[in-house]
Symmetry: C3
Subunit: 199 residues, 3 copies
Amino acid sequence: MFWLDLVGTFVFALSGGLCGVQKRLDPFGVVVLAFAAAISGGLLRDVLIGAVPPAALATWYYLAVSAVAAGACYFAHGTIQRLATLIAVSDAIGLGLFAVVGARKALNAGLSPVMAAVLGMLTAIGGGIARDILINRTPMIFRGEIYALAALAGACIVTFGAAADIPDAITAPMGAFLAISLRLVAMRQGWSLPRARPR
Amino acid sequence: MFWLDLVGTFVFALSGGLCGVQKRLDPFGVVVLAFAAAISGGLLRDVLIGAVPPAALATWYYLAVSAVAAGACYFAHGTIQRLATLIAVSDAIGLGLFAVVGARKALNAGLSPVMAAVLGMLTAIGGGIARDILINRTPMIFRGEIYALAALAGACIVTFGAAADIPDAITAPMGAFLAISLRLVAMRQGWSLPRARPR
Amino acid sequence: MFWLDLVGTFVFALSGGLCGVQKRLDPFGVVVLAFAAAISGGLLRDVLIGAVPPAALATWYYLAVSAVAAGACYFAHGTIQRLATLIAVSDAIGLGLFAVVGARKALNAGLSPVMAAVLGMLTAIGGGIARDILINRTPMIFRGEIYALAALAGACIVTFGAAADIPDAITAPMGAFLAISLRLVAMRQGWSLPRARPR
């Protein structure tokens, strides 16, 4: 779980750092946005379950991982042609990993399977929402594609799997894979749910 | 108090769900926005007084109530002509109910009457602020009508009533009624305080 | 530290109140925005280190100081010609004071020097971010000037000073002075780091 968390941190930091490059921020702004995208979901989760100070502040790993990702974004953007695609893909991977990690931590804190899955989803979408709000953009969850739903599906695999006594070693990769592939396929195929059409 | 809280959750979820319909979100986005509008104020309050995990995550009631409200918004919007009015009215009712509930929980956590009223106000305005920020709209509190002030007035009835040993059974309905009617009348009559006019 | 905190509260409340005047809010909106700018950074810090209810809600000092600052903004704006400059200067002073106070409280909560400096920076930039998000403006930290970096530098003086057993009475004024002067000089001279330039 610790490694999934760090990899999720790295890819979300990438998504934040690339957004910062796209917005032409300075290097420090890129680091701040990468760090915010990487840790906001986990901070929210840890605060809500009373695990303070949150892991992302109690150790320097998350900061270091975010700074490395931000540095890569800042220096390598010259060779990256399609920022938007890369942001979306790293965001999708982070979404799946954080949904699984968040759901497990919520279960450990004693939440029921349904609410632990919801908190896993919040963990997964929190970083992207913080990133988008900070740069004054409509959050991805409200752009009409399948996004939070993919996170919720992945989180449910872990929480209901745990309720059925299936070990995390099986459900965590399955849940992450489900969420990531659901998100990527939906993005690629343009899948979406029917939007409300008020008169 | 529990019932006031659930009814407040329902009407705030309605306001969020209707906003989502107005913004043409998909069904899942409508549920997320309804849930965010319904629980953000209470989450903020519970985190600030250290009551974690917050009630809205510890039980499934709030999620279920929000989902029902969101479903009603999504399916019934065809028959609703005046979304904006309905959003504003459900927002006003939620404002009054949450001001009262928030003030009582803050008193229970040991805050003084003044600060408990402030926290009641934050509970009441938090959901609307979260809803408006998520859809990238200027929060209602800053649109120049009487809004947060109505919540504060209602919350003060409860906190100063408690300081004067008047039971909640009397002050809670009074406070909610005061806040809701103050907000609705101000909206209807266009009441507002004089705005700052910088040169 | 208590006095630095209150002075920081006052100047951040000034920056929030002046923003509210600039946005032509009503008096109550000006107070809410001043209070939000003044306490959001400290609330975030206190929640993250588990110090709840936060100081800003446990006493009425912060509210009173914010209300006085908001009142001054509302009534004196007629005589103030250059709102934008005054907002930026009061913001810079608050930035430096809160970086120092936040770093010290984070050290007290047991964080390492590096992470305590990061939390000091978050304390310092949190109020300005909340203020800017509430009025739907891109946060100052992402406008490309030296801002969060100044707060981080000031916070590091305190945290690494403490690690070297240098008393706060020396490092706190030094850190605040460094952060404030770095921010003001960068603003005045137009210093900035080189922005990312994606193709």
